[in-house]
């Protein structure tokens, strides 16, 4: 029984810049079901962080929503007021940001920060502290009571990342968004965090939108994958389908080039020849055309994201062979 929790529908987002509008997201569509772990994968700069900040509308001032809808439990978030959005943040939707070293307030103790984010709960401060300590224990921080009195700079990067995860889980959200939560960690810690996230997902039953540019991590953790390239979804589907039967040349190149395993320390996706197109000055046609070794005449038109089989979508003319013929 699957119920759609989050539905991104034809979302287009621009950044207004001095060079003109930077089309950071174009016609993004995908769903996240309740209790499901969905991975978003793509090279640096493909718009992953833009996408997740758009969901909670924690956006840079020069961000412009051009088109589309973000539906959470059927309710379009883009039509909500700022006050209504605030009610959602850290409540039904929590987020773990990309950079653990700067994610906590440097002059306030971790304990106070963890108490403050429980502002919606009507319990005493001592109880909130107890909850905070318990959550730190859950993510594997030893001696949590004493640690609550410390400041962020007294923790290592990996610990701060785990604290961020603990904070995000504290409200038992329906949706946890994690933006590259393991990129800053070393390989062993990365495995630990992935395992921990799996456990937590099982215990708390929340859906997770997990962002990474590390395929191995995605394969390990996720049920479904959304592959992004230069601000667009090029392919989406179950982990099995995407990894064993990729239908977009970009996905294929990603998998071919990936050293494969979570244990190997591949931080950056292997290079694919050519450059990512300038988002402020988009080329005509398929976004991947310039770097694609299977490009053909038809690629001068933008291929639509098409359903190929149940739960597998790709945006490539190669999958429309019968039409070409």
């Amino acid at each position: 029984m699957t119920e759609t929790l989050l539905e991104i529908d034809n979302l287009s987002v621009d950044y207004e810049t001095a060079r003109g509008d930077l089309k950071a997201l174009r016609d993004i569509s995908f769903d996240v079901n309740r209790g499901e772990i969905v991975g978003i994968v793509g090279e640096s700069g493909c718009g992953k962080s833009t996408l997740i900040s758009a969901i909670l509308r924690l956006i840079a001032p020069n961000t412009r929503f051009r088109n589309g809808a973000i539906r959470f439990k059927g309710d379009d978030l883009l039509t909500r007021t700022e006050e209504q959005m605030r009610a959602l943040r850290g409540g039904d939707i929590s987020i773990v940001f990309q950079d653990p070293m700067q994610t906590h307030n440097p002059v306030i103790t971790i304990g106070k920060q963890m108490v403050d984010i429980q502002h919606r709960v009507k319990i005493s401060k001592a109880e909130k502290l107890a909850t905070a300590a318990r959550m730190l224990g859950v993510v594997g921080i030893p001696d949590p009571e004493a640690r609550l009195k410390q400041y962020p700079h007294e923790f290592s990067g990996g610990m701060r990342q785990r604290i961020a995860i603990a904070m995000a889980l504290m409200s038992e959200p329906d949706l946890l968004i994690a933006d590259e939560p393991t990129t800053a960690l070393d390989a062993t810690l990365e495995v630990q965090i992935i395992e921990r996230l799996k456990d937590l997902q099982r215990d708390f039953g929340c859906a997770i939108l997990f962002i990474s540019h590390h395929l191995g991590v995605i394969a390990e953790l996720c049920d479904r994958v959304v592959v992004m390239y230069a601000g667009a979804v090029v392919e989406s589907g179950t982990v099995r389908e995407i990894f064993h039967n990729p239908k977009h040349p970009y996905t294929r190149r990603l998998i071919e080039c990936d050293p494969g395993h979570i244990k190997t320390r591949a931080r950056v996706l292997p290079t694919i020849p050519g450059e990512v197109p300038d988002l402020a000055n988009l080329p005509e046609g398929c976004i991947f055309r310039e770097r694609c070794d299977q490009a053909m005449a038809r690629c001068a038109q933008v291929p639509p994201l098409t359903r190929l089989s149940e739960g597998h979508n790709a945006a490539c003319w190669l999958n429309h062979a019968e039409e070409i013929a």
Partner: protein, 312 residues
């Protein structure tokens, strides 16, 4: 923390010793024989000789300095040769008036300036922000003695809302007498602090941890007023600490305009009558005030900022 405080105050003491020595030498370097000026043209040579001996001016300079410092250690700033009273007593009689003036000025200007700066930073580029900027800049441009004279003329002489001179007695009367002088000193600080807070607040609001606070649905008031302000305030504390020197010098003008007793007035009066022991004492105390306030500012910052405290 205690170690930090100890180090900081040791440094302050050292600075003070150097400052006092320099001041001592500077005063001695002023042309004119102090004794003749103090006693007037008709003084007898015997009287002069007695005064010179009393003030220790017949000793060598290092000896004089040594005597001064050893007195200082006992809290003895010397004796006023005119009245025969302790300089320490005289200076500490005047000190509270100046302290009240300075601290009332800091207090209201910091509160207003911080509020204005926070508001402007929370609503950047709105008309309120622009109005605050215009007001701030015009406040900064207003020197204390001009504001003192103008406010004296308008509010004390013409409108007669506030008293023109003196310090008053009792709490309310004292407060009433403080309004205009404190306004004169604090006004440019409001603008200055507001600009400073706005700039540092805007920077902090752009930091990632603020986005985290927002992502947990904390109220904008808590984010600006606590999460960001705790960081944005740090440069302001330093500036106020160092600004103590400027405050003291504007206090001199203001005390004269409003005929308020205080350190400033004491210094000016004693300089005109070449009353060196008092000049020395008053300048020493204000220098100490300045040195201590910068040290205190550093301590406050160390308390506010755990990163500075741990020395990383």
């Amino acid at each position: 923390m205690i170690q930090f405080a100890f180090k900081r105050f040791a440094l302050a003491a050292l600075i003070l010793v150097v400052a006092v020595t320099v001041m001592f030498l500077m005063i001695r370097a002023v042309p004119g024989d102090p004794v003749s000026i103090m006693l007037g043209p008709r003084a007898t040579p015997e009287l002069k000789a007695r005064l010179i001996a009393e003030m220790g001016l017949d000793q060598s300079l290092p000896k004089q300095l040594f005597i001064y410092f050893s007195g200082l250690l006992r809290g003895d700033l010397g004796v006023d040769v005119f009245s025969g009273r302790d300089v320490t007593t005289i200076v500490f009689e005047q000190l509270p008036h100046t302290l009240k003036l300075i601290f009332s000025a800091i207090l209201w200007s910091a509160l207003l300036g911080i509020g204005l700066g926070c508001y402007a930073a929370a609503h950047p580029n709105t008309w309120i922000d622009r109005a605050a900027a215009a007001i701030s800049v015009s406040f900064i441009a207003a020197p204390a003695f001009v504001v003192a004279l103008l406010s004296l003329l308008v509010f004390a002489v013409y409108l007669q809302w506030f008293p023109a001179i003196g310090v008053g007695e009792g709490f309310w009367d004292t407060a009433w007498h403080l309004v205009l002088p404190s306004l004169a000193i604090g006004l440019s600080w409001v603008g200055y602090i507001a600009r400073l807070v706005r700039a540092s607040m805007l920077e902090v609001l752009g930091e990632n941890h603020i986005r985290t606070a927002r992502a947990f649905g904390l109220s904008e008031r808590r984010i600006v007023g606590i999460y960001a302000l705790r960081i944005a305030i740090l440069p302001v504390v330093t500036v106020i600490g160092v600004g103590m020197g400027f405050l003291l010098s504007s206090a001199v003008f203001t005390e004269i305009v409003f005929a308020r007793p205080g350190l400033g007035k004491l210094v000016i009066d004693s300089i005109t009558s070449r009353n060196y022991p008092i000049v020395m004492g008053a300048v020493l105390v204000s220098t100490a005030l300045f040195v201590i306030s910068t040290a205190v500012a550093d301590l406050i910052n160390a308390i506010l900022d755990p990163r500075a405290r741990s020395g990383t």
